[in-house]
């Protein structure tokens, strides 16, 4: 099945104005005056926007949109889980999933607010591969989303220039790691940190690998070509 979350994908005309205002909201969020900015009126012809996709953008805005996309996906998943009446989850597990849903929706909405008009539109998700009446199917998908989310944040930190944004991402990633550990312990008790390498480090993945991992769950094409690489 598929469903639209947040809002429909942005139309190209809307995106042009959004894209042009990108810096303004960045600066506003950083506490700088927006008055120094003039808004461009033309879209860069070298940077075509797919009609049915989203472009994450460049710089810190792009990285925040990348995180926003991941949070959209997680939030949509947990909303769907909490709507299912026959998950097979225990009472305590159900309570935890309800917490996870709220945490992820709050993360999603915070990024949306921080990005302002630079925020990408709502992604169209595809959860047809998940059986929401099966505890194991739900837990398996949840583990994928949480472990991937942790690795994504771990890999994205170095892409940021602003220490404020880095601090914000840091506040979120450890909660994602707590989620991941809790889900893993539901899947297999004691597997909470089964992700570590020989140095005791959690994975860190670049956006390209993360977007490939979540591609089966996202219908909307995501253009990440503008993201920083270091």
């Amino acid at each position: 099945m598929k469903q639209i979350i947040s809002s429909p994908p942005v139309k190209e005309t809307e995106f042009i104005s959004k894209y042009g205002m990108q810096r303004r909201n960045m600066l506003k969020f950083l506490g700088a005056s927006a008055a120094v900015i003039t808004i461009g009126s033309s879209c860069n012809d070298d940077d075509p926007i797919p009609n049915n996709g989203v472009n994450l953008g460049t710089g810190d805005t792009g990285v925040l949109n990348y995180a926003y996309a991941l949070e959209q996906l997680e939030a949509a998943f947990y909303i769907r889980v909490t709507q299912s009446t026959s998950t097979g989850l225990s009472t305590q597990e159900t309570a935890y999933f309800n917490d996870l849903m709220q945490h992820e929706v709050i993360h999603r909405e915070l990024f949306k607010a921080a990005l302002g008009s630079s925020a990408i539109g709502g992604l169209e998700v595809d959860f047809s591969s998940i059986n929401f009446s099966s505890r194991s199917s739900i837990l398996s998908a949840a583990q994928t989303f949480e472990d991937t989310g942790v690795a994504a944040y771990n890999g994205a930190g170095k892409l940021l220039v602003s220490t404020d944004f880095l601090a914000l991402a840091g506040k979120i990633v450890s909660v994602e790691a707590r989620h991941a550990a809790a889900i893993r312990d539901m899947v297999s008790p004691g597997s909470f940190a089964g992700t570590t390498d020989s140095n005791g480090l959690d994975p860190a993945l670049p956006p390209s690998a993360v977007l490939a991992a979540i591609a089966p769950f996202v219908k909307t094409p995501i253009n990440a070509s503008g993201l920083p690489t270091s």
Partner: protein, 300 residues
């Protein structure tokens, strides 16, 4: 304004300016295309961010963070190593719980080795392992965690202290990450440890909750009455009861935040959330000074 002139000027005092800016080369290029979108007046601010990343942190800062992290990892590794070897815990720390402690110990010891190697590779000398006092007595050996409350005798107290160390570790790394923003390798490694500490914290919390449920409730697990202990931190609740509550509270103060990036998280996106839920959604950093205050009682 001539950007090239500015950089040329810097080059006269710092020949490595191009190297330092190298990672921001793509950002430099993008300036050429930004003219139609932002006014020149905005450029100094954007440029400032670029130079901030290139110059804000010195190698000394990075080494200081790594040494500080090593201190925390020594503390955690020693705690789990001695716990796993403690004769007083052989009948209480068993089965899945012991397996979990062995896993956590392996991670913490790996962090110690990794940080020592990283510090050496960065041209520093790793600090020696401090002497620890796990009674929390600052070297006296007679702190609040002594006698029947010794972590190496009392499993319930051990779990509470493990939780405090892990939650503190998460907050400590979080507080230091911005100091590493100029060093991609160090930053990423710190983040990769940070999330592992959070996984540990979540599991210890799960263990404490399970212990309470299997052993007659919160009162027998040093969890305050009425508290539902979760893998995530609710408000500024430690989930640790008296007589240890005050001793660990410094590790939880500030976690109750419900404003993030200037946005009220109890009322966001057209929905309202409890302060408990909003606070759970974000972990908060601790400064180096705050962490030092917290761990000082455990240093001999």
């Amino acid at each position: 304004m001539n950007l090239q002139n500015i950089i040329n000027e810097i080059e006269t005092v710092d020949p490595e300016v191009y190297e330092k800016l190298d990672t921001r080369r793509s950002a430099m290029k993008s300036f050429a295309n930004m003219g139609s979108k932002i006014a020149l007046a905005a450029l100094p601010l954007a440029l400032g961010g670029m130079f901030k990343k290139a110059y804000a942190q010195t190698p000394a800062d990075v080494l200081d963070v790594l040494q500080f992290a090593l201190t925390l990892e020594y503390l955690e590794a020693e705690f789990y190593n001695r716990t796993n070897a403690a004769p007083g815990l052989t009948t209480t720390l068993t089965g899945a719980a012991r397996t979990a402690y062995q896993k956590i110990a392996a991670d913490e010891n790996a962090h110690v080795t990794f940080l020592r190697n990283t510090i050496t590779a960065a041209g520093g000398v790793p600090i020696a392992k401090p002497t620890f006092d796990f009674t929390g007595g600052g070297g006296s050996g007679t702190g609040p965690l002594s006698g029947i409350n010794s972590v190496f005798v009392n499993y319930v107290v051990n779990l509470a202290v493990a939780q405090t160390f892990e939650d503190t570790g998460v907050r400590a790394y979080k507080g230091q990450a911005p100091r590493l923003i100029n060093n991609n390798d160090a930053l990423q490694a710190a983040l990769q440890i940070h999330s592992v500490e959070a996984r540990h914290a979540a599991h210890i919390r799960t263990m404490r909750r399970a212990y309470a449920e299997a052993n007659g409730g919160n009162a027998n697990a040093a969890i305050p009455a009425g508290v539902t202990l979760k893998p995530w931190i609710t408000l500024n609740q430690s989930g640790i009861a008296d007589p240890f509550a005050a001793f660990v509270q410094g590790s939880y103060n500030g976690e109750e935040l419900t404003t993030q990036a200037g946005v009220q998280t109890t009322s966001i996106g057209g929905q309202t959330y409890s302060a408990a839920t909003a606070s759970e959604s974000f972990d908060e950093p601790l400064t180096k000074a705050q962490v030092t205050t917290i761990i000082t009682p455990f240093l001999g």
